[in-house]
Amino acid sequence: MQKRETSCEAISDASLIDATITGDGEAFRELYERYRDSIYSLIYYIVDCDAPSAEDVLQSVFIKVHCNLHRFRQEATFKTWVYRIAVNEAKNFRRGVRIGKTSLKSIANTPAEFDSRSSPELTHLQRQRRAVVFRAIQELPEKYRTIVILKYVEELSYAQIAEVLALRIGTVASTLNRALLELQRKLKQFENLL
């Protein structure tokens, strides 16, 4: 495989898609690397913060993307198309697996035990905040959780979220409102961490 002369960032998704369709495996790898982390975040939260499951779903998402790439029409952006596949795959996964949950109350006094990603630069307060947010997110209904992650972690616009979830923009706004109010209701007892 010839090494690309231009940097990855300079190549558009459309060019990489075309190259992938014509059999350039390296082009697909670039698409994968471009979207891997953001898609993983979305899946991770939908599958109840279970890293191994999220990695399995991530794998099947990209296999599905590759197999269906020739069906991708440029009417949607590649990004929202991949997000849509990821949301569907993660939801399908959840339907097949019952994941145990820990209640928020049970971790109220044990804020440090949760976070395998905690790093030295995080303050104790940040770690506590992250702990309760992780749990609260897991307790949100799936549709609320998905929309909150798409908006605040993936930073998608209302229009993009509407495209990913096949909803009207107005429905996205109202669902997001309800999700945020529910999140706040669950975390009310931890307001001192804000």
């Binding site: 191994p52 296999i63 992250r130």
Partner: protein, 216 residues
């Protein structure tokens, strides 16, 4: 007092994000002056946003590209066809499915598996091998079907009298191979991976790409 101006609730996040039209924003602000319920709703929404903004993005802890690449190389649709080829591809897929139904044991995915290079490794040495594609040999000690996932798993051991060392072999869709019978000796071709789920923590051949019977 409980407010029933549902029409205004939907505008709160637009107001908060500064994208509400000036006239709507003025109407909302006038409403806030006389409605403590909506003022509290806005305050809660702001707190909810603050919480939501503190959700951190996460990154995968292991690199899975090799698994994806291996699965794509083994797949019958290994390279996406050009759009004008889709009808031909559908026809080919139909023939391919018929072929699979008739050759369930000796499936090699139209040569995909034959083209791959599988590192020969004993079950005990799998943890020390970094090869993505392996072939290993052993006795089938258990076979399970997972109805939720639709996958079939079997446990391969070096010595049928001893439970370890072992490797779990997973037959997944679309590679629906016929599982070997318990007690048989087989050679299993597939992708080597480690299952790090808390209650698993074992090495796997996942997906299994080919199974060969070994006549003893």
């Amino acid at each position: 007092m409980k407010c029933f101006r549902v029409d205004l609730w939907g505008k709160l996040s637009d107001y908060e994000n500064g994208v509400l039209s000036e006239s709507d924003a003025r109407e909302l602000e006038a409403h806030f002056l006389r409605c403590s319920d909506c003022k509290e709703r806005l305050a809660n929404l702001r707190k909810g946003q603050t919480w939501a903004k503190s959700i951190p993005p996460v990154k995968p802890q292991r690199e899975i590209w090799k698994n994806i690449e291996a699965a794509l190389n083994a797949s019958p649709v290994r390279r996406s066809a050009a759009p004008y080829m889709s009808a031909a591809a559908a026809l080919l897929c139909a023939f391919f499915l018929l072929y699979l139904l008739w050759n369930r044991n000796e499936r090699d995915f139209a040569g995909g598996v034959k083209e791959m290079r599988f590192e020969e490794v004993t079950i005990a040495k799998i943890p020390h091998s970094s090869a993505p594609h392996i072939v290993t040999e052993g006795f089938v000690s258990e076979v399970h079907f997972d109805p939720k996932e639709g996958d079939t798993l079997f446990r391969l051991v070096e010595n049928p009298a001893q439970p370890e060392p072992f490797v779990i072999c997973e037959i997944v869709q679309p590679y629906q191979l016929k599982p070997p019978p318990v007690g048989s000796r087989v050679r299993v071709f597939g992708v080597s991976r480690f299952d790090s789920k808390e209650d698993h923590l074992w090495f796997e051949v996942h997906p299994v790409l080919k199974i060969q019977s070994v006549h003893q």
